[in-house]
Amino acid sequence: MQKVLTTEGLTKQYGSIRALDNLNISVCKGDVYGLLGPNGSGKTTTMGILLGITNAKSGTYSWFESGHGHQMRRRIGATLDKPNFYPHLSGIENLALVADIKDIKIPNIRAKLEMADAAKFARRKFHTYSTGMKQRLAIAATLLGDPEVLVLDEPTNGLDPEGIADVRELILKIAQEGITVIMSSHLLDEVQKVCTHVAVLRSGQKLYEGQVHSLLAGNDGIDIAADDMAQLRRVLGSFAGLEALEDKHGVLKVRLKDGFKASELSSFLITNGIDITHFAHHKASLEQEFLNLLSQNRA
């Protein structure tokens, strides 16, 4: 798989604070890659270095296996921190400026504005925009010139629930076209819905990097209760698909082995004469795994 981005030993120091510590990540073509971490974990610093506006103390990185000059950045659509545009220019004028910088011959500004649902206010001066409008214009700007990679820092910031869903759909649509997306977000549910890969950072260090489904794999859980809990425990012990069993507040928490389904377990329990009073299947969440990673690292 073609590497779109690799970093080697990226380190950044702000005075006595090490904002980034020997970071190694790699992103392949077509990935939707989420950078996750609590505030101050180094997400924005990482993106800043990758986009040429922050100087790393040491380490290196490479876009498209070809280095990291400004020519590389023209192949990337990116917005960092918050949408940054000229307040006295309209949305269209701002996008024309971006197209000039990127050397885009036919920018097709109107189509990009429509994709980001920003066309209806694009003739207004930027300083009159609401936070959501600014965010949509920023997304339209990143789409100019059909970039090979999108880098989005908190792309749903300031958007209402409908806007968040729109951006999610847009990112999924972009990803389906084979464009690589690198994004950071605090909304872990959103990340889980759109990202194929994640890196979890804490205090500038990488705690995890890999596929989202690998992180979540085997962490689906089923809560079960019955009239006769002792009998339930015995029967569960004989179920071939049982991975782990835990008694918690009068409910048995069950984890199944790969390849076994919750419906198979419920059929098995009924067949074995268990009167089930509670049966709840909950999918593993990125949020829970994220918190687990952070607490394990803290410990």
């Binding site: 800043g48 986009l51 040429g52 506006i53 922050t54 100087n55 000059g69 400004h70 020519q71 950045r73 023209r74 990116a78 917005t79 960092l80 921190d81 918050k82 940054n84 545009f85 000229y86 307040p87 006295h88 220019l89 004028e93 024309a96 400026l97 971006v98 000039d100 910088i101 990127k102 050397d103 700007a141």
Partner: protein, 264 residues
């Protein structure tokens, strides 16, 4: 370079601040030129040394004197256009657009070159205004003026252009260093009016002439003393011009280093 110029032009042409300052500068130059004689008649050097001198009888606004006299006076108003350079740079940091330009694919050097391009365009604009005013005043006497007389001492026009370019690059450097409009303007004025004169006391002999603002001042020294019989330069010192250009390059280099070393 053309691309960088187009990018900078897109940023400026719809800015009302840009046009207000441009028009203000042009109007000030025209007003000063229209009231040149009366302003000069009240100048200390005339009042103190030759109170009976009638400037109407002197060729202050005739070729070739007009170029030296006009560019000397116009030099005092370069601060107005420097405001555009300073606000343009500090606003880019306030709005986060400098970093977005770099994210979008402009190199830091290109970004700086686009601002230096703005400095040159502003200097050219002011120089053209001065040339326009100079021609209007010089030709307004009604008499036939030989072409060679018009061209004589136009080296002061070139010196004026260089003075402005260097001064604007210096303002650009300050704005990049401080990233705040107000503080940059204050430091620009304080250095010119207070700090460099103070430094001049401590710098031995003629070396003080080579401090940056003194170097620019010496491109065109006070030209009116000749009308009261005092010795006056009537030609631009080319070595002074070379030093000024050197300062321009140095400020440009410092600006680049600031931009390169700092995070945006």
């Amino acid at each position: 370079m053309l691309k960088l110029f187009r990018i900078e032009l897109r940023k400026q042409v719809t800015s009302s601040t840009f046009w207000i300052i441009i028009v203000l500068h042009a109007v000030v130059l025209v007003l000063v030129a229209m009231n040149f004689r009366s302003l000069l008649q009240n100048a200390n050097i005339i009042v103190n040394n030759a109170p009976d001198l009638d400037l109407a009888l002197k060729p202050i606004l005739r070729f070739p004197d007009v170029w030296q006299n006009l560019t000397y006076i116009a030099g005092y108003f370069k601060i107005i256009l420097a405001l555009i350079v300073i606000t343009s740079v500090s606003n880019e940091f306030a709005y986060g657009t400098a970093r977005q330009n770099v994210i979008d694919g402009l190199s830091r050097l290109d970004w700086l070159l686009s601002k230096i391009g703005l400095a040159k365009v502003l200097a050219l604009f002011s120089t053209l205004i001065v040339v326009g005013i100079g021609l209007s005043l010089g030709l307004s006497g009604g008499e036939q003026v030989p072409f060679v007389d018009i061209l004589e001492r136009m080296d002061y026009v070139l010196a004026y252009f260089i003075e402005l370019v260097v001064y604007f690059i210096y303002a650009l450097f300050l704005a990049l260093l401080l990233k705040r409009t107000g503080i940059s303007i204050i430091l620009l004025l304080v250095y010119d009016i207070i700090l460099e004169p103070v430094f001049s006391w401590f710098v031995p002999g003629k070396l003080s002439n080579f401090l940056p603002m003194n170097t620019l001042d010496h491109l065109n020294t006070f030209p009116f003393a000749k009308y009261i019989g005092e010795p006056t330069y009537t030609i631009v010192g080319w070595e002074q011009m070379a030093i000024a250009v050197g300062y321009g390059l140095a400020f440009g280099l410092f600006a680049y280093l600031v931009l390169k070393v700092k995070d945006l």
